[in-house]
């Protein structure tokens, strides 16, 4: 499934540059372009081109370094490997099965999950802690995989004017620390602001289906959202998640319409509770004061 948003963006930008150039041509009524850097605009337009997959992966790797800079990996090899086999099984049912998919659990008690361009998914320990079984995990990962399939983050980053310049660095092909550092600011801006709500609703609809294709009980994601809908929205544990996503209750209402009752026929498939609980047992041990 290729992005359908790039072409109109490029056309609009080209039209804009053409318009500016016409104005600069000295026509009466045109405005003064002395302070406008045409080269900069052209570079930005170039940045709106379709991003080849290798570049997308490089961008995603840089984004991931910044996400893991905020909170490192959970120190639990068995858990990391488990999330990778579940995640890869789910991702291989998507339209981009051959991306270099990587899944990571970070050492954060806060509830959240992040997708980066190119197939890196980071899920917090806190998110796994509130899940009941593997079908819920598959649903959450399916939601994140859907963001990658639809290139939601990549397209959002491309709307950032400065990103066009960054793309020139990626195009040069050498993955270096300068590029990673340059990606840090747009990464922080995007992951603190979040995607458009429509992207989140779409990822919900697709995530349910991708988990269902993987053979799971497709109601895992709705079940996870139902848990989140009961969490106090003022709780610091969900503050960033709730800021960057539509309210879980709104997401459930949208899913209720999209799935309806005709989707009952797709029901079935294991929730795989026992293995999930065994492997996630260690991170569930908490104590109240």
């Amino acid at each position: 499934m290729r992005s359908v948003y790039a072409v109109p963006g490029i056309l609009l930008s080209l039209m804009f540059v053409t318009l500016l150039a016409a104005c600069a041509g000295g026509g009466k009524g045109g405005f003064n372009l002395q302070n406008v850097d045409i080269n900069q605009l052209v570079q930005n337009v170039k940045g709106l081109r379709e991003v080849p997959e290798p570049e997308e992966i490089q961008i995603g790797d840089g984004v991931t370094e910044t996400l893991l800079g905020a909170r490192p990996l959970q120190d639990d090899v068995e858990l990391q490997r488990y999330v990778n086999v579940v995640g890869l099984w789910v991702a291989r049912q998507s339209e981009r099965p051959n991306l270099p998919w990587h899944f990571a659990v970070n050492d954060s008690d806060y509830i959240n999950a992040f997708a980066t361009p190119g197939g890196n998914i980071v899920i917090t320990k806190g998110m796994i802690r509130v899940l009941h079984n593997e079908s819920e995990l598959a649903g959450v990962l399916g939601h994140e995989v859907s963001h990658v399939v639809r290139k939601h983050h990549l397209n959002a980053m491309r709307k950032n004017a400065a990103f066009g310049l960054l793309m020139q660095g990626v195009q040069a092909g050498s993955k270096n620390q300068d590029l990673v550092n340059a990606l840090a600011a747009p990464t922080k801006e995007l992951y603190a602001r979040g995607l458009d709500k429509s992207d989140e609703f779409e990822a919900d609809r697709m995530g349910v289906i991708i988990a269902a294709r993987a053979g799971y009980d497709p109601w895992g994601l709705p079940s996870a959202l139902q848990t989140l809908a009961g969490v106090n929205p003022d709780d610091t544990y969900v503050k960033l998640l709730f800021k960057t996503h539509p309210a879980p209750s709104a997401r459930l209402e949208k899913l209720a319409v999209a799935l309806g009752t005709n989707f009952d026929s797709v029901t079935g498939g294991p929730q795989s509770t026992d293995q999930f609980l065994r492997i996630t047992d260690r991170i569930r041990i908490v104590a109240a004061k």
């Binding site: 893991l68 270099p100 990587h102 802690r129 294709r213 106090n232 104590a287």
Partner: protein
Amino acid sequence: MKHELWRWLAPALFLMSGAAAAETGYTLQQTDLKAKPFLDADTRTKLPEKTELEIVLRQGPWMQVKTKNKQLGYVRMLQLRLGSTPTAKDSNGWVSVLGPGTSSPRPSSTTVTMTGGVRGFSEEELQASKPNKAEYDKMKTFAATPDQANSHAAEVKLTARAVPYYGEDGKPLKDQGAKK
């Protein structure tokens, strides 16, 4: 080993935090309590809006629930919200952010003590991030192969199937179709 220590400490910590609380929920609107998890199953009773229920188990789009007078039955998952009813949500009516099986929900202002303290991922912590190549390189070492993913699927009896995407209106999307 740290993990081994936790296995010994776990029961004591659960005692400290109180008995594991049963999950509760409430109806969003008047809802049928069905005898079985099917739309055409017998209706045992009609549950009024905001009826508080105990969640027994999850089964696809259904939840098996128990009413306050111990009546068992099934309601549609999306007809329920977890936690206490909005009017009862004072300091302790929310779902625990510490997950099922932990102590009953706590006031959000209370500090929860965990080993090493709470590890956040707030907007401020995101803004303060410095790219961490070492963790990125480590993440790559955990990658699964397709064979490993397939083995896991076989182990938990997952079978891939073709399912189409659905649009916002609940209609199958023909153009995106089912992955074969």
